[in-house]
């Protein structure tokens, strides 16, 4: 019994680690940290989805839609990475880690893995088996959600960002709005006072 429980715990922990690593790898590929842009256009352009914790947004939003959808999505991304690697279609070396195969791909190769999934969207294919049902509704939405998480007010909920939507309070305007010169809703919404 006891060892079973421990295994369960370990497995859960491992899965959680992989979930975080994989979703982080995903959002990082879509909206990266950019040294080049920072050099050319100013420091603020360095920051990307990881800095705005968009992986958390993805995680809670997917699971709000359907319990365990985030975990299933991670499995699917890892399966796609596996196919990419076994077809030797990755262009850069792997950086193997316990975060799973998708997270071990270079960011540009992660995009290739996603592209591989997308290509098979119209044909029922072994590539997708047994993820067809998840895939049916998720891949394009992952990209959209990443952009919503990054360019909407979400990060500005600050310490309340992980609460139920009814309980979130806007504490500041997200840094992504500065990056793109969006002044925010006018006149500015009342921001919460935070005790410091």
């Amino acid at each position: 019994m006891e060892s079973g429980n421990n295994n369960q715990d370990m497995l859960e922990e491992y899965t959680l680690k992989q979930t975080k690593a994989t979703l982080s790898a995903f959002v990082d590929a879509i909206i990266p940290r950019s040294e080049e842009l920072a050099k050319e256009y100013g420091e603020i352009q360095y920051f990307g989805a990881l800095d705005l914790l968009v992986d958390e947004y993805l995680y809670i939003t997917l699971n709000e839609y359907q319990p365990d959808l985030a975990e299933a999505t991670v499995e699917m991304l890892n399966a796609a990475a596996q196919r990419l690697v076994s077809r030797v279609e990755n262009k850069k070396p792997l950086n193997l880690s316990e975060g799973g195969l998708f997270a071990s791909l270079a960011p540009s190769d992660r995009l290739l893995a996603i592209a591989l999934l997308k290509k098979y969207q119209y044909s029922s294919s072994h590539l997708l088996y047994p993820y067809e049902n998840i895939f049916y509704n998720v891949v394009d939405n992952l990209i959209r959600l990443t952009m919503i998480g990054y360019y909407s007010e979400w990060f500005g909920y600050g310490t309340t960002r992980l609460l139920q939507p009814n309980n979130r309070v806007l504490e500041f305007y997200p840094l992504s709005w500065n990056q793109i010169d969006y002044p925010g809703p006018t006149p500015p919404r009342q921001l919460a006072m935070i005790e410091s």
């Binding site: 990266p32 080049e36 842009l37 990307g48 709000e64 919503i148 998480g149 360019y151 007010e153 939507p165």
Partner: protein, 570 residues
Amino acid sequence: MEKDFDVIVIGAGGGGAVVAKELCDKGLRVLVLEAGAWYGNKKWPKPNSEPGEKSSSSYEDLSIDILNECFTDLEDDMNSLISGKFRWGPANRQKEPWKRLVAHGGFTWQNAGVGGSTLHYLGNHPRAYPTSVNQVWPITYDELIPYYEKVEQLLPVTNAPAVAKEDLFYYGASKAGWSQHDTKNVTTPGYRPQPNAILRRGQSYQFPGEGLHEYTNYGCTLRGHCINGCHIGPTVDSVAKRSTFTNYIPFALLTGNIEIRPNNFVIQVLTEKDNNGDLQAIGVISKDTWTGETTQLRADIVVMAAGTIETPRLWLNSNLPENPWVGRGLVNHWFDSVTGIFEESALMEAIGSPNIRPFSGQNAAARFDYPGWGVLELFGCSPALYSTLGYASSDSGFFFENKVGDKPWDYEGAIVGDLLKEYMMNYQRTLNIVIFTDDEVNQDNGVTLDMHEKDENGYIPIIRYHASQKDRIKRDNLATLASNILRTAGAKTIVRANWSPDIYIHLMSTMRIGLVTNTQCEALQVKKLYIADNSVLYNSLGGPNPTLTTQALATRTADNIFDKYFAPQA
């Protein structure tokens, strides 16, 4: 069992609110059952976290203060498909959204709530193209005109004002050799200010309700949140963007003949055989979305206005008679998006300003009509939705997978990585054009039930749509036209998204007039059951935004119902 009301209307959205108000005007007692929340009503001060009361029948219940609290202008809060206040789901945001299966990673963008999908719509109200109605529909364009006029006056519809993005669009279209339209009945290509239902500052408008309702200081302030829910105005019924919860619903309340119950999902239409052995509607079963309690209600007439997906779903879940067109023939204008990025110098030359500021002004205040192909609509809004519409949705994969060759755009596909950040850095200098294709009806496209999966409201819908080769050609033509306008206006870089056909924004024609209903919009196989939403449209109207035509038909349907079943015998 005795009847509870003269008429029950299912759904308080674009069409349902209209048929309800028109019937109230004729003195009938109407019950509206709406699956979603009611924003801006004292009986539901916290519509997303507390169940509130059961129903409202009084104009005095409306509250602009509550509306102001609910509509926050924030994109994730308002428009998240999963937990937003505008979503297809119950008012209680602690619950999951209602499930639908959409092929290929697509989604349906519809709202539950009093106002329905007009809560976040952009208020654009063009008429159908006459050539897409005459000799195609089972009724003529001329028959629609008096109803168009009535709705246009009530909403009211006016020409949208221009700010920088519209100026730039007109500049490009005119310089490319096109001329401006000055008609509501469009038969040739040309551009024009958007005919929309957004009150302008200082526009005179006669609010119903004699004397009491003379407001000053109403009208659009051009702050750019149409899509996130307009709450600009001194009262709910004078809010600038004329979603049906700001006009038809308040005006119906003023008649004293209506009761509206939000948070009520109709799960079955009840029927029985009349003396002649014909099936007729006699009522509905409705479920409280907070408590799960069900109620049976009876009326002489039932009107389905649950929208293009839920009306056929409800028909099928109610086991109403088979008809090869129920749920079939779905069209969606197979959207696309073409985005132009400008340099300051080009903008200075075109409009004398270094920025476009796509987040200011009305969200879609100019258009280009091209009968035979479809529509171009100028679009701008707050950045999260803007980035997803322009850059996140593509049927061609990522930009780096596609060679554009001699096409008039520079990139095709989803934009991600550093390039996305760079383009978004130019957000202030970006002009987006959305494409609506005049797509063809195909009986294979539409809504069926997933017989393996139920939610609390019945079997869930599966939505399928394949575009035709003709649709593809029209859409490519429109993308070329949009690119030419942008390039002529001075755009440096042009991105064509090439959206998947499985993004559903204008859903139409799954219960087509003449095939599922007669020309009066009464179901052919079930008497006393009418349809008054986008599903009853015969086709995609040639491309124009659907709501005005649905509302014109709903107004006509109210006349039909009254004349057939309630008018005093001569």
